[in-house]
Amino acid sequence: MIAVDLLFGALVSLLCGLDRTALLQVMISRPLVAAPLVAWLLGEPLVGLQVGVMVELLWLARLPVGAAIPPDDTQVSIAGTVLAISLGKALHADSLELLLLCLLVAIPLGKVGQFFDHAARQYNVRLLNRAETALANGNLFAVEFQHLRGILSFSLAAIGTYSFIVVSGLLLIPLCWSLVQHPLEHSSSWLQLALPLVGVAVILGTINVSRALTLFCATFGTAFLLMWLV
């Protein structure tokens, strides 16, 4: 039942999408939480955990500072998980290769999240103007209402991003699955390793700490030697 899977995905996408900016910021929007949550609802929590490990670190170094909008890793992880689980059932291919293909399709499409988020924030300027008019007219209820409508525009941005990634994935992945299945078989476990390591490398390159490289190499070397020798 792909439709039910997609619906559960949409609910989680809405909930976690709002946590990114509009509500709470308790970090249920992080891929490490959002992906296992939707996967648990779809009955395969381990798939979500795998997605969480691969996506969590990728854009962790992109901070939502001021007006900066980082790529939407929340919707990438949710849509990637939903695609992997639902297409796994449809294509009878419950494998790491399909999971990786879903993620490799979802990751670039996550850029569209920035566009939707930008549009929501742009639309909220209108709400601000309406709130100003309402305040001038002495209508405080309308001021509060305009603020709450802002949450609605962030909801639409989250659902829009999720829908775009999922629909694109449903169209693209079945078409190219047979083509890339074989090449991915030779490299799937290395790709699974590479994604979090790319994320760590980006954090290492962009974190503002003077001894970052020394600390990282020392810890990596020590931990590795300990595991090797013990």
Binding site: A22, V65, I107, Q122, N124, L140, H147, A201, L204, G205
Partner: protein
């Protein structure tokens, strides 16, 4: 007059929706007014309320976890203004004065330090297939922000303008550096763990793992030059898939 506890709790809960109407013109301005309104309605009469409301609808942007501290101090100042007491600083000046430094401190401490640290620790659990990993992350991460949201609000209301000293006393910029360093240490250990696990699964010699540092440092340097994560991810994926195909062909030729 002092605001009742119920009103203050109401404002605190509304601060959780501070960024609900975030926009490019005044950022959190509308959200800040929305949060303060239940208290302002108690402090001011209608005409004054509209005038004060207009003031608070101005540009405002700070870190969402430290915003309750600003809001509570502003409420204290509003009470003093309503009682015609002399204010230590104009309310709009106070907001301007603290918003940017609080934002910088919060971004560095919470987004830049605490988040990668909590994620790094929780990822160990996730990589081992432990389903509680997301809960570990949420508990590790949220303890500090929730404390700041609550304690900042309580101290902000109690101390007013002097609540700035409360945050200064905690030397948050130093803590931001410490948490970032700790995050790097944890991520170093996590990377080593992933590489070691992979080599074991592939039955390859463990010492090969030490060579992983080289491409990681290279990728880090490229990222520092401004190349996007997306580009790095896709390039790495293409190289690995092509290398996998080449290796498969090579081993089949050797077998022949």
């Amino acid at each position: 007059m002092s605001l009742s506890r119920v009103t203050r709790i109401h404002v605190w809960f509304r601060m959780l929706l501070l960024q609900g109407s975030w926009n490019f013109e005044r950022l959190q301005g509308l959200g800040f007014l929305y949060a303060l309104l239940p208290a302002l309605k108690k402090i001011y009469r209608r005409e004054e309320l509209l005038k004060v409301g207009k003031e608070h609808l101005s540009y405002f942007n700070t870190h969402p976890y430290l915003a309750p501290a600003v809001a509570a101090a502003v409420l204290k100042l509003e009470e003093q203004r309503a009682a015609k007491e002399e204010l230590p600083v104009a309310i709009s000046d106070f907001k301007e004065m603290v918003a940017a430094p609080y934002a910088a401190i919060g971004d560095a401490l919470f987004w830049g330090g605490l988040r990668p640290l909590a994620a790094g620790i929780a990822l160990f659990f996730a990589a081992k297939g432990i389903l509680w990993a997301p809960v570990v992350f949420l508990l590790l991460y949220n303890a500090v922000p929730i404390w700041f949201r609550v304690a900042g609000f309580v101290r902000g209301y109690r101390l007013g303008v002097q609540s700035v000293e409360f945050l200064q006393r905690h030397r948050l910029p130093d803590w931001a550096i410490h948490t970032k360093e700790a995050a790097i240490v944890v991520l170093g250990g996590f990377s080593a763990f992933l590489v070691f696990q992979q080599l074991q699964q592939q039955a390859l010699p463990s010492w090969l793992g030490l060579f992983t540092l080289l491409p990681m440092i290279m990728l880090g340097l490229i990222a520092r030059k401004g190349v996007s994560t997306l580009m790095l991810t896709l390039l790495t994926a293409i190289i690995i898939v092509l290398a996998g195909l080449f290796w498969a062909d090579l081993t089949s030729w050797v077998a022949l």
